[in-house]
């Protein structure tokens, strides 16, 4: 019951029938208090291999940023403008860096057996991200509107058609491929990146193999 000053009673804040309360509770429970952006980290996090996750994330940011600039100019911009061509080059190289950092990050996480301690979902979302990134880059290559796009489309269609998916996902249709590349797949990538990072902050960075707190 709300009092005349608008202060709600204790019952209302925790009323489980209230969807907003439940949503807030769920959001708050995703990550332990103070762990979303902590200013401390475990002492064992002390190796350069640990920066490859954030390097991958930064590379993704540059990929998306350069992609947005390309979108401003449109699909022929990079053919007719030297600035457009430069931004296209930034987009290409940031993608190469993204994959390079991501794979090194994967190597590091494998040798750390980073799935331990209830971190299987972190690992799984990581592998899914790797796969979806490959798909996203594929649609990107198809959207270049140059010789490479023609050849990749002609070859790629055989792989995809053979699975039956080609009936719905037409790599010979640049209009469809471009929209998958700039809308659908980036949304999925960003969503799964969010889940992946929340998992890391939720469980914390995996302790060393055979770490012994009593030692």
């Amino acid at each position: 019951m709300t009092t005349s000053t608008g202060v709600k009673s204790a019952d209302e804040s925790t009323d489980p029938g209230n969807w907003t309360n439940r949503l807030r509770g769920w959001l708050q429970g995703l990550v332990p208090p103070g762990e979303a952006l902590p200013d401390r980290q475990p002492v064992y996090v002390a190796s350069w291999i640990y920066v490859f996750g954030v390097l991958t994330l930064s590379a993704l940011a540059v990929v998306i940023l350069s992609g947005c600039v390309l979108a401003i100019g449109g699909v022929h911009w990079w053919h007719v403008s030297s600035l457009g061509h430069f931004v296209n080059s930034v987009h290409l190289w940031s993608v190469e860096l993204f994959f390079g950092f991501m794979v090194i990050h994967l190597w590091g996480k494998f040798w750390m057996a980073a799935w331990r301690g209830k971190r299987a979902m972190t690992w799984i979302t990581g592998v899914v991200l790797f796969g979806i990134s490959i798909g996203t880059s594929f649609t990107g290559f198809l959207s270049q509107s140059n010789f490479s796009s023609q050849w990749i489309a002609g070859e790629g269609k055989d792989g995809i058609n053979s699975t039956g998916a080609g009936a719905f996902f037409n790599v010979l249709n640049p209009g469809q491929m471009l929209l998958w590349h700039v809308v659908l797949l980036p949304l999925v990538v960003v969503l799964i990146v969010l889940i992946h990072i929340i998992q890391v902050r939720r469980h914390g960075v995996v302790p060393p193999l055979d770490a012994d707190l009593e030692g």
């Binding site: 860096l97 494998f110 040798w111 490959i134 249709n173 209009g175």
Partner: protein, 320 residues
């Protein structure tokens, strides 16, 4: 490792760290690297192959391809789903995955030739050829076109001798090919004007945007593939990994393209679906690695982690 005894990371001693600063630093690093690499190495942007370029570089092949579309013998004509029902398509063992997709992008290969030509005016030879084709029964059409394709033949290649006129329509033996030579020549002429792509992809709908028909016709010919193979982009050249010129390609595709290079995939009619299935299996193995005994223990057997956490292990060993 039957029971995961990994301690809670939050129970360990900590030290100060600035995650936000770390992110900003890496962002600047990547921006500088990307910009620098882009400025130094740029990126490839080879002009697409136009129908006009194909017509001028290899007119015999375009004519031969046009005849093949009319005969129903080209790759796209005999593809199966999603373009037509003229083949079973690839199977994974007994499972006809390609066919299950359905013919949802129906393409009549003869239409790749007739569609653009049917709207041609001012060329009586083409108009009467189109009319003659339409008036003929299907069996007659197929006979005309197949005979013409055989008469043109192919040049000697890969240890196989030349057939027919060795790929040269001008040298094809005289015979009853009906309107097929005129139709093929008409398509060549239209290609040379630069209007063929538009006639295929945007006639009737103005905006185009879907290049399915143009790409199928182009891929049915030899010119596109010849240019690609010359740049090491062919399927049996690890092409999936490569890019034109000296540009970096897609090194992460190494394993996907690897299988195409070796038996049994390199000689299989179902190579595409088989490689896809194998890669899906490997991806699932990687994804569910945490649950796979043996595989998940490799990091223990090959202790690279002792390098990563060497400071921690040293400090822990020193404690009583």
């Amino acid at each position: 490792m039957t029971r995961d005894r990994t301690p809670d990371s939050h129970d360990f001693p900590t030290r100060r760290y600035d995650l936000a600063k770390e992110f900003v630093i890496t962002l600047v690093v990547v921006l500088v690297l990307s910009g620098g690499l882009a400025a130094i190495f740029s990126s490839p942007d080879e002009k697409p192959i136009t129908m006009s370029a194909w017509a001028k570089a290899d007119p015999n092949n375009l004519i031969s391809t046009a005849a093949g579309e009319l005969a129903g013998t080209t790759t796209s004509a005999t593809y199966g789903a999603p373009y037509n029902s003229n083949a079973e398509g690839q199977k994974l063992g007994p499972i006809p995955l390609q066919k299950w997709g359905g013919v949802r992008i129906p393409i009549d290969s003869a239409d790749l030739v007739l569609g653009p030509l049917a709207n041609t005016s001012g060329d009586p030879a083409v108009s009467s050829a189109v009319a003659a084709w339409k008036a003929a029964p299907p069996a007659q059409r197929t006979k005309w076109a197949t005979d013409y394709v055989d008469a043109i033949g192919t040049a000697a290649a890969d240890g196989e001798p030349a057939t027919g006129a060795g790929g040269d329509p001008a040298k094809a033996a005289a015979g009853d090919y009906g309107p097929v030579p005129a139709l093929s020549a008409g398509l060549l002429a239209l290609a040379k004007t630069g209007g063929l792509e538009g006639a295929l992809d945007s006639a009737g709908n103005f905006y185009g945007g879907d290049t399915t028909k143009s790409l199928l016709l182009l891929a049915d010919g030899a010119y596109l593939e010849d240019q690609a193979v010359a740049q090491n982009l062919g399927g049996d050249q690890w092409g999936m990994m490569n890019e034109v010129g000296n540009a970096p390609g897609q090194p992460w595709m190494w394993l996907y393209t690897f299988w195409y290079q070796i038996k049994p995939f390199s000689t299989s009619d179902n190579a595409d679906v088989e490689v896809w299935a194998l890669m899906m299996l490997l991806t699932l193995l990687l994804m569910f690695l945490p649950f796979i005994p043996g595989l998940r223990t490799i990091p223990r057997w090959i202790p690279i982690h002792r390098l990563i956490w060497r400071n921690y292990y040293r400090r822990s060993a020193g404690r009583p």
